[in-house]
């Protein structure tokens, strides 16, 4: 006997965002780092900061830390990020 059953998943179409244009070079750019604030991020992002300046000659590295590492970044950080050429985030310990 045929049985009719339903799809339990959301089925909703997820709006996908266009990625920002890729940079050809990091030299002279402003790079923002959004840290989740966990214990291991201090050393990690300090190292990333150094690499960006020494190896890629970026003009400025700005570190911002979320107040809650399990929640999205605050609006202030997102607003500030509009002024950056590149953001590095989504990394934690």
């Amino acid at each position: 006997m045929t049985i009719r059953v339903l799809n339990p998943t959301s089925e909703s179409t997820v709006v996908t965002l266009e990625p920002a244009p890729r940079l050809q070079s990091l030299e002279g750019k402003t790079v923002g780092l959004i840290s989740n604030g966990k214990e291991g991020t201090a050393g990690f992002f300090a190292h990333v900061d150094r690499l960006l300046r020494e190896r890629y000659r970026v003009a400025e590295v700005i570190l911002r830390t979320k107040s809650n590492y399990s929640a999205p970044a605050e609006d202030e950080i997102i607003d500030e990020a509009r002024n950056w050429d590149l953001a590095i985030t989504g990394l934690g310990d």
């Binding site: 006997m1 049985i3 809650n68 929640a71």
Partner: protein, 354 residues
């Protein structure tokens, strides 16, 4: 009966095939499911008097809408009868409050589960049990309600292991984690009453919760000594897992409750005592291998509870045995317990079939 549901449907040859169909798509927790037929799903919706597209809430981080139909499909799959569905709906309404931080709790490496605590008349209406094996498979109602929460997370929000769910370990409560308070055999106001829900109302409380940690002390009748054991377990959790204060559940079975009652101790006295006793200094981390992060804060004192009100004291458990349990929060106050009254008309008859 005309059914106007919105979900994609599949016509499958027999029930064995249904099982493999769902398993193979990652739509289960690994156990067999009840086939979510349009009739069974509609019966759940009828019970709560909701149209299929009723929005239960929106998960704010990923902006995903949770509607009644999808919840009902997952509830049926979990084994829910229509009468169980109001608790599922209300639990999801609570989980979608900002202070619950649903995305963080379900995505975290910390691996917490969502504990659902039932209070009020609905417990008896749907046949929950609050005594033997209360933190295990105590009864049909709590088993299927807890499972419905998890299946809906998996299917509606992609909280599958390795997808959104990044738990390092997880724990067995992530299959089903629902209990009902033993209000009839308790001399204190229910948990929901203590959180401003009228006694006559049914309610759910949800908490992003770690696994239970069981204690035993049947060698005293003094409240202070009994509670010292609970407090010691809370301190152990603070040392070994997370030092941050938050909503701790204390599940207290009948034997310990009787000693509390005899001494005139109620919810307030218990919470106040644990608030004072469940404290550690950061320097204690040196005893459990975490000395490297004490730094200059060794003398800083941390309390398991931000205030006595943060204790979620639940009367539950079998009649004999000097056992009890604490259930720690996932991560301090980053996710907070939420209690909501069950708003659906649980005492109404579902509408007659057309």
């Amino acid at each position: 009966m005309s059914i106007a549901l919105n979900s994609q449907y599949f016509d499958i040859d027999d029930s064995d095939d249904v099982q493999e169909f769902y398993h193979s798509r990652g739509w289960t927790d690994g156990f067999p499911i009840v086939p979510p037929t349009p009739e069974a799903v509609q019966a759940c919706l009828d019970w709560v008097l909701m149209p299929p597209n009723e929005i239960i809430g929106i998960e704010p981080v990923r902006e995903r809408t949770i509607d009644a139909e999808k919840l009902a499909i997952n509830a049926v799959m979990a084994g829910c009868l229509p009468m169980h569905f109001p608790a599922v709906v209300s639990a999801w309404m609570a989980m979608l409050k900002d202070e619950f931080l649903l995305h963080g709790t379900t995505a975290s490496t910390g691996g917490c589960a969502i504990l659902v605590i039932l209070n009020g008349p609905i417990r008896q209406e749907i046949g929950t049990r609050s005594d033997f094996n209360v933190l295990g498979s105590s009864d049909r109602a709590t088993s299927v309600i807890g499972r419905a929460i998890r299946l809906a997370l998996i299917n509606i929000l992609q909280v599958s292991p390795g997808a959104i769910d990044r738990s390092t370990l997880g724990h067995p409560g992530k299959i089903s984690y629902c209990i009902a308070e033993d209000e009839e055999n308790s001399n204190w106001p229910s948990l929901a009453e203590s959180r401003d829900i009228p006694k006559e109302a049914s309610a759910v409380t949800v908490l992003a919760a770690c696994a239970p940690r069981q204690i035993m002390n049947e060698w005293t009748t003094k409240p202070e000594e009994i509670l010292d054991t609970y407090a010691a377990e809370m301190r152990a959790n603070m040392r070994n897992y997370s030092i941050w204060s938050g909503n701790y559940v204390v599940v207290m079975p009948a034997q310990h409750r009787e000693h509390m009652r005899a001494a005139g101790w109620g919810r307030t006295e218990i919470a106040n005592y644990l608030f004072e006793k469940a404290r550690i200094k950061r320097s204690e981390w040196s005893t459990v291998g975490k000395g490297s992060v004490i730094r200059d804060k060794g003398d800083t004192e941390y309390c398991a509870l931000p205030s006595p009100d943060h204790l979620l004291l639940v009367a539950a458990g079998g009649p004999a045995g000097g056992f009890g349990a604490i259930i720690p929060p996932w991560l301090g106050t980053k996710s907070q317990a939420v209690t909501v009254a069950i708003g659906a008309c649980v005492d109404c008859e579902p509408p007659a079939a057309q």
